[in-house]
């Protein structure tokens, strides 16, 4: 064998777009979160994005969308690759807890994002939806819970419901998912979002046929 210069192939290689993993954060910004909880939540979200940006692969692969429910339901950050998220305005705690409406909005946006991926020929991982609240919904949440749970049962989305503090309605939150809601005690937002960023990094770097083993939740979960 001789005379074949592999270096000549480098410019021939195809740059496929990085497979994407959408992560929807559906966050409680109701008045009960006012003060230290919303501040810690803001710090946790900022840390989450920074940690994703610190990972070469996940910063391109993980697309974060932030939805809040408080005085109204808002799409605070449309799905955006972590490396492109520059300024994420701090959340303000005000108003009620229209959780059902926020979940419906997040489901719609996730569906739209998946359609965008398909249209662009970009492969994608099973998206995640993280629902966090310190209380109980104040709107008609049952239909949204049923819809999201069905998607989770069909393995179209991974749903993680997290109750913030002892006042969280864990039983209701659990109805949005196929797995029981987890309790985040003592405002361990940083620990939680560190775990979440590590989990998203693992998902975004998983390969076909590879079961994704997530990091232990011991650092933040109250059992």
């Amino acid at each position: 064998m001789n005379g074949f210069d592999l270096a000549l192939l480098k410019n021939d290689l195809i740059e496929n777009p990085t497979a994407r993993c959408a992560c929807a954060l559906v966050l409680d910004a109701s008045s009960s979160m006012d003060g230290a909880p919303i501040n810690e939540l803001n710090a946790g979200v900022a840390q989450f994005i920074n940690e994703l940006r610190g990972d070469d692969f996940a910063s391109y692969a993980v697309e974060v969308g932030i939805f809040t429910f408080g005085n109204d339901v808002r799409e605070a950050v449309p799905f955006t690759p972590a490396y492109q998220i520059r300024d994420c305005a701090p959340l303000r705690a005000i108003g009620g807890t229209p959780m059902g409406e926020a979940v419906e909005l997040a489901i719609e946006r996730l569906a739209q994002r998946k359609a965008d991926y398909k249209k662009a020929g970009v492969s994608y991982y099973q998206p995640w939806l993280v629902l966090m609240s310190d209380g109980a919904p104040t709107d008609d949440w049952q239909a949204a819970a049923k819809r999201l749970r069905k998607l989770a049962e069909e393995r179209k989305v991974t749903v993680l419901a997290v109750g913030i503090g002892e006042g969280a309605a864990l039983e209701i939150l659990g109805q949005f998912s196929t797995r029981p809601a987890k309790l985040l005690p003592g405002m361990k937002f940083r620990e939680f979002f560190q775990w979440l960023s590590q989990s998203m990094e693992r998902v975004s770097q998983s390969t076909p046929g590879t079961g994704v083993s997530l990091a232990s939740t011991d650092s933040w979960e109250c059992i």
Partner: protein
Amino acid sequence: MARTTPKGGARVVKRKTRATQNSVSALTNVVASEAKDLVASVPADTPSNETIPEPTEETLSSVLPLLSYGTWLAADSAVVGAAHLRTSPPKPCQDAALADTGKRALAILADGAGSAAVSHIGATAVVAGVRRLCRTLESDLATALDTESEPAGLAETIAHRIVAHAKGILDDLAEMHMRGSEDFRCTLLVWLYGRQRALWLKVGDGALVAEKNGECQCIGPVGKGEFANQTCFIGPRLDESQWAWGEIDATQLSGLAAMSDGAAERLVASDASRVSPAIGKLLRGAAAAQVGRREIFNLLAEADFWHGTSGDDKSLALIARALPPRNVAGYGQHF
């Protein structure tokens, strides 16, 4: 100096004679030293009573390129992915690739499931076992792929036999190692060349590429599920709807390649709409005996080429042949 046909010389002379008849001018891409090696390697059982002149370097250089017309050459390799080295202990390479040009040119590749404990054993056994099966089925393969009119349903039967055999190999391994056959599960990609048709078979992801009329294209379905880390495998849960097979016309077929999804990340578009020009160059290199296992290994192991990919195992098996230029008399009749 004239002498009786030397051992193995007859085949060279016949090619030379045909080349002369076809008025083919010298096309030299094989050096004389390699040419001598090739002459030495030609089987000694070729009957002939011709008296021919001792080949000189000049005659060899004009003749030997023609030896490779229609002759399939093979190259294959599998390389552990960087992601497998990040775990402790590191995972072994779970890909197995084999290209062979013995009785029948073929390429077989299997990619063990990342989450299966001993899928590297399954992948290796499936590749070896499928090759063995193809050797056993040679008479059926000849009927199905070498004849102008294929008996109805024969190729389909062969495809089903291959998948059933691969499943059986994993079942046997499971029994031998006293664990579930899921632990051995792997994808399977197969190319079987025939003079009239080439058969392909695809279970799971990865890519099959055919080079025809000088152009490469992906063959078969993409093989992934809805999500990027979903695919199907040879294993107990595989059903009919999850795998595919087919045939392509072998006229002007000059290269066949099978690659795992890790290699496909840079060698084909993720929607299978495009094939990297690198594949065509590798196939032409293989056909000219310039690309072999070492070159494939070097390509797959070169970190610079794979920066930004998932770090999965990478494997590639290819077979290639040189075809005569289009202006040669009789062109297309035999190729």
